[in-house]
Amino acid sequence: MAITYQGIGTIGANSSAATTLNVPYPSGIQAGDVMVLVANVDSTTAPSLPSGWTAGVNYTAVSTQVPSGRVAVKVATGSESGNLAVTTPSATGNGYILLFRGVDNTTPIDVAGTTVSPASATTYNIPTLTTSRTGVALVAGGTANGPGGSWSTITAPATMTEVVDTTNAVVPVMAVDYLIWSGSGATGTVPIIRSSSLRGCGWMIALRPAATQQAVSGTVAGTSDTSATVALQAAVAGTAAASSGVSAAPAAVMGVSGATAAVAAASLAAMLLAPVSGTTVAAVSDVSGTATAQLAVAGQVDAVSDVAGAVVGGSTTDVSGTVDAVSGVVGEVGLMAGVAGAAAVTTTVTADVTSRQGITGSADAQTAVSGTVSGLLPITGATAGESATTGAVALQAAVSGTVVAQTGVTGEVSDPIPPDANPVTITLRETGHQTTATPTTRTTARPVTTTHATTARPSTRATARTSAHATTPEQR
């Protein structure tokens, strides 16, 4: 806030010796204005500091001679009126009050003032002072053991405005100038020049401008790159993507009508609940937690690679697309009821693969399945556990398609079909040997369990509850 000069009060004077100097307040004082009192006396002792005022500078002529004086400041309350009574030594004297606005009310005086007390001279060189900032008000003056002569306007560090210039009205004579200085730092020597040589004093203070306050505003728009939980809940109409670096659980809970993707490096669970009506629900790679897709998934659910946790297509109903768990799945892959499309588990599945009720498409577990592959009822498509299956392959009731377990099946292949179940074909392909239960009607009350030891892989067994099936001699 820039300092502005508001005016000066009438000069108060004691033309004869007195101990009280009445200095009139200037008019127009507002709360927060800063008043500068200058009081000079024809004495070797400066006036007293009035109550509530802050000392600026004191000065006394060289060799403790007259005149002397005081500069003080005070933040106005706005209720000042009449005269300020200043206690002085018994002497003649005079004084006045300057009024400034925009001065810092906490620290009105920017830096300590300076004085000079020359012997008889026309130029009083007021020593430099160093301001802390731009915009200070430099107030400089002189007093001399007059009467006689006049004062020139001060011109350093820039031309000032002279507001007091007494000549011989009352001893001592005095002058004061001010400058709202656009510079800062050292002022350099400030000469105040008289027309006649007199003993006296020069002084200067700097008033600090009030802080300029500038209003700011701004908005942080947070979107991505958050380390906190990213939660996607109801009614997401478009695509909701948590792409990378998600350290917490991304959840799309209900009513996601667009595609939802938890793409990479989701370290916690990625959950997709019902009803997801978009085309693709993908937990693509490096999912170390559980990826769950539950009810009413109308699109495709993919868990592609390196899923360290379980991939549960808990699609108890109405999965009309494809459910794929391709490779590197070390947890459980579960496909439950109502899978209308293909369910494929391709390679390196180390845990159980479960295809349960109502699979109308194909359910394939191809290579290196070390857990159990089970297809429950009723499976109308083909179910294949092809090679290197080390766990059991269980096919239960009402399989109407082909069940194929090819090479390297070291576990059990079972088909606990009830008597009235649909025809089924079981094929074991191993170095040319086949155990086949061709389409037939199961009529026995209790199925016969038969163990088939093949020549190539004695551990391979095929158990089928069939009343009639062709076997080779080697299998006996």
Binding site: A211, Q214, V216, S217, G222, A231, A237
Partner: protein, 122 residues
């Protein structure tokens, strides 16, 4: 719009910028990439954050007027960021452009009216 629901944004903002117990500070920048040494961070205060609004998008903003310290040197302040401490600490938001840059001189202060410093999450 894709992303967090408004309710979730509101809850998240209130959780991350609580209405009590906060220790956040506003840091100032003249270049959008580093902190301005001429102006100390401004405390938002333990209860300086207002509750996130229920508007869409939810807005978390200062609930009390803020005034910076006086600048110790001049510069044109163009950005701000929220930090977790008066010095050092964790930068909690990216450097964000002020609605208008402000040129400060030594001794000047920046002020933020209630609601002037805001965070949204979508």
């Amino acid at each position: 719009m894709a992303g967090l629901t408004n309710a979730e944004s509101l809850a998240t903002l209130d959780a991350r910028f609580p209405t009590s117990g906060g220790t956040d500070y506003i840091a100032w920048s003249v270049n959008g990439s580093s902190e301005f040494s001429g102006l100390a961070r401004t405390a938002i205060g333990a209860t300086g954050w207002a509750a996130a609004t229920s508007a869409d998008p939810s807005v978390k903003a200062n609930g009390t007027a803020l005034t910076s310290a006086t600048a110790s040197s001049g510069g044109t302040v163009s950005h701000f960021a929220i930090f977790s401490a008066s010095s050092g600490g964790t930068q909690r938001t990216d450097w964000t452009t002020l609605a208008a840059s402000k040129t400060v001189a030594t001794g000047d202060q920046l002020t933020a009216a209630i609601g002037a410093i805001a965070v949204t999450l979508t």
